[in-house]
């Protein structure tokens, strides 16, 4: 789950990371009063889950409260990379002497949190990584032992020579690491970490991504989710515990397992069709999930035919069959449904479907070929 900058700031601030005062606003009036409280020139920053906000015009300077209101009004009406801006962050404009990058990711390869720091901060760190990887120092941290003081110090020495700044940065490394661990993050970064004319080290912008698996037992983090930052169908799917991604085709897909779901999409393409979505109902699926999945897919007017591709392992195919029967009795599905079921409890599943006059196939290629043909016929 992506956090907005203002949310990430709050988590880092709670961990003790020094940063400029600032607050979030939903209206121009709010932005104005925050700007008045702060005094002087402020920056108004769009709070959307998208990179390149500056280039898109989502970050503006305002020299006084009334300019702040105007700029906030402008930005609050914007759409950046398809996402509506509902909130802006108002912070003092900082005089910047140096800009660094400090990031922490959960790394697959080392299976542990990895620090990445670079004195080339403030710009797109991925560009730095691609063009001048030697400018990024990486350090894996063993979560068993945590971040040791000497590790924080070594990272800080990458960024600064002045020992006061080194000590300040080392402290921030420790605070960032703690925030990362305590909030079950998969990414936490400060970019840029700046020094001002007074030599102070401050975090200017923050980004945190929370591991979705943490949310189950961390309702305090779950409430940070901004539903308005997602497509309605994707938000609905998430609430139903479905992995769903909207695509541009016309063949709706309901599959169990991410790998099989991707292979199904690949096969739809192979047979000349275009998938309308990626949808994984997950391992232990209930009839309710199937109903929710059908509702979400049939809400998409582009969908011309729907394919169920279920290979039962931990998923019981009879549960899926019951779900299909229940859904089609609850609401009318206007497009043809092709069902492929095999595996755990498949005899029972075929019996359930047969009970309402539905049939199912056992072969994936056969099912995909048929649903692609039906979609093409309907188009």
């Amino acid at each position: 789950m992506n956090l907005h900058e203002y949310q990430a700031r709050a988590l880092l601030k709670a961990a003790g990371v020094p940063m400029l005062d600032g607050d979030v606003a939903s209206t121009p009036t709010e932005a104005e009063s925050i700007a008045r409280r702060i005094g002087g020139t402020v920056v108004i920053k769009a709070q959307v889950h998208a990179g390149g906000r500056g280039k898109a015009g989502g970050v503006k300077l305002a020299r006084n409260p009334s300019e702040a209101a105007d700029e906030a009004a402008q930005i609050l009406g914007m759409t950046i990379k398809g996402l509506d801006v509902h909130k802006v962050l108002v912070v003092p404009a900082a005089e910047i002497v140096t800009e660094s990058y400090v990031g922490l990711i959960m790394d697959r390869e080392t299976q542990r949190p990895v620090f990445m720091v670079s004195s080339a901060g403030g710009v797109d760190i991925e560009e730095v990584a691609a063009k001048t990887p030697e400018k990024i120092v990486r350090m894996p941290i063993d979560p068993t032992f945590g971040l040791y003081p000497h590790q924080a110090l070594r990272l800080a020495f990458v960024l600064y020579r002045d020992f006061t700044q080194v000590k300040a940065a080392a402290k921030i490394m420790a605070q960032l690491y703690q925030a990362f661990v305590d909030n079950g993050a998969s990414l936490a970064e400060i970019n840029p970490l700046i020094t001002g004319p007074d030599g102070r080290v401050l975090a200017l912008d923050a980004k945190i991504v929370i591991d979705d698996n943490e949310l189950f037992w961390r309702p305090d983090l779950g409430v940070l989710r901004d539903d308005s930052a997602e497509l309605p169908s994707e938000a609905a799917a998430r609430r139903a515990n479905l992995s769903f991604i909207k695509l541009d085709g016309d063949v709706g897909c309901v599959v169990n397992g991410a790998g099989l779901a991707m292979a199904t999409m690949d096969l739809v393409k192979f047979y000349g069709g275009e998938p309308a979505n990626f949808l994984d109902i997950g391992g232990s699926s209930s009839p309710e999930k199937v109903i929710a999945a059908l509702k979400i897919i049939t809400a998409d007017p582009h969908v011309k035919a729907i394919l169920f591709n279920i290979f039962g392992g931990i998923t019981r195919t009879d549960d899926v069959a019951s779900g299909i029967v229940a859904a089609t009795s609850q609401f009318k599905v206007d497009v043809p449904i092709v069902i492929r079921l095999t595996g755990t409890n498949e005899a029972e599943a075929f019996r359930i479907l047969g009970g309402v006059g539905m049939t199912a196939l056992s072969d994936m290629d056969e099912a995909v070929e048929r649903v692609v043909r039906l979609a093409r016929e309907a188009a």
Binding site: T144, N213, M262, D266, T342
Partner: protein, 290 residues
């Protein structure tokens, strides 16, 4: 012969009285797996299906039954602790089926697992099955498998069944099928399994099923090129997935230039791995190599 699980497997089931645990324990028993014990804290002294003794702790279960393999079905928030409990009790092979374990939990559990020198398969995986000895540990449907000499390793669950199904229907039996799981942090990777199959005298050819995201398949291809003499065929799911979107589980994400299907398929081809474009092609590719 086979890898990881065979006639010598004495299986413990952690979470045997839960919904998933009890369902699949029955399936494993029916298939022929020797389940020697179950663990559910607070239910020690009871029995499962009238035959399998239940213990309060893994240590008790191991002491009493000599279990040498464990399979974990406990809920996500307790699963990493269950892995650690099993490792602490000295069980040399741990298979964790549970999906949805926080990655931070796994990042903390892995150093402990390694410190005990035990093998973890998973988490978020379907487990493994050795049809020749009727040994099933996990959730792979036994009825789609058949004894034979092809080893299979996969990051995916249901996609594995799809491929195994094609093999069985074409009378190509399997030595062992292993699902390693698609989570960011897993205990056993492709290379571990490829090495085991290469060393297994009962395996003649290997099928590996990967997907987009990460670089495990590329490393595995390099390992095949350098160290595997048996024929290998491979599949990559997500060839048509839009870039930059996360597909279902954390494994399936394309970050930056790394981990695209094209890259992985190129690595397969460079290593002499036969590339399947559709799951069904596994049959003809293997036939051509056996």
């Amino acid at each position: 012969m086979s890898v990881f699980a065979d006639a010598g497997t004495r299986l413990l089931v952690q979470g045997i009285t839960g919904r998933e645990g009890s369902f699949h324990s029955r399936q494993m028993l029916e298939y022929g797996t020797r389940i020697v014990a179950g663990v559910t804290p607070g239910k020690g002294g009871q029995t499962f299906e009238g035959t399998v003794p239940i213990f309060n702790t893994v240590a008790d279960a191991v002491a009493d039954t000599g279990a040498n393999t464990t399979v974990i079905y406990v809920p996500p928030m307790a699963a990493a602790a269950a892995i650690i409990e099993a490792a602490d009790a000295g069980i040399p092979l741990i298979i964790c089926i549970t999906e949805g374990i926080p990655v931070m939990h796994m990042s903390r559990a892995m150093p402990f697992v390694r410190s005990r020198g035990v093998r973890l398969i998973g988490p978020n995986c379907p487990g493994l099955i050795t049809p020749g000895t009727r040994t099933k540990v996990g959730i792979i449907p036994g009825n789609i498998c058949s004894p034979g000499r092809v080893g299979l390793v996969s990051r995916s669950g249901t996609l594995t069944y799809e491929v195994v199904n094609h093999l069985t229907r074409s009378s190509i039996g399997q030595s062992t099928c292993v699902g390693i799981g698609g989570d960011p942090i897993i205990g056993t990777n492709f290379i571990d399994c490829l090495r085991a199959f290469q060393d297994d005298p009962a395996t003649d050819a290997i099928v590996m099923i990967g997907e987009i995201g990460g670089t495990d398949e590329q490393s595995a291809a390099e390992f095949v090129r350098a160290s595997v003499t048996k024929p290998v065929v491979g599949f990559i799911a997500g060839q048509t997935a839009p870039k930059g979107r996360r597909m279902g589980h954390a494994g399936a994400i394309i970050s930056g230039a790394s981990g695209t299907a094209e890259e992985k398929l190129a690595a397969f081809e460079a290593a002499g791995i036969g590339v399947m474009r559709r799951p069904v092609e596994v049959v003809e590719l293997l036939r051509a190599r056996l």
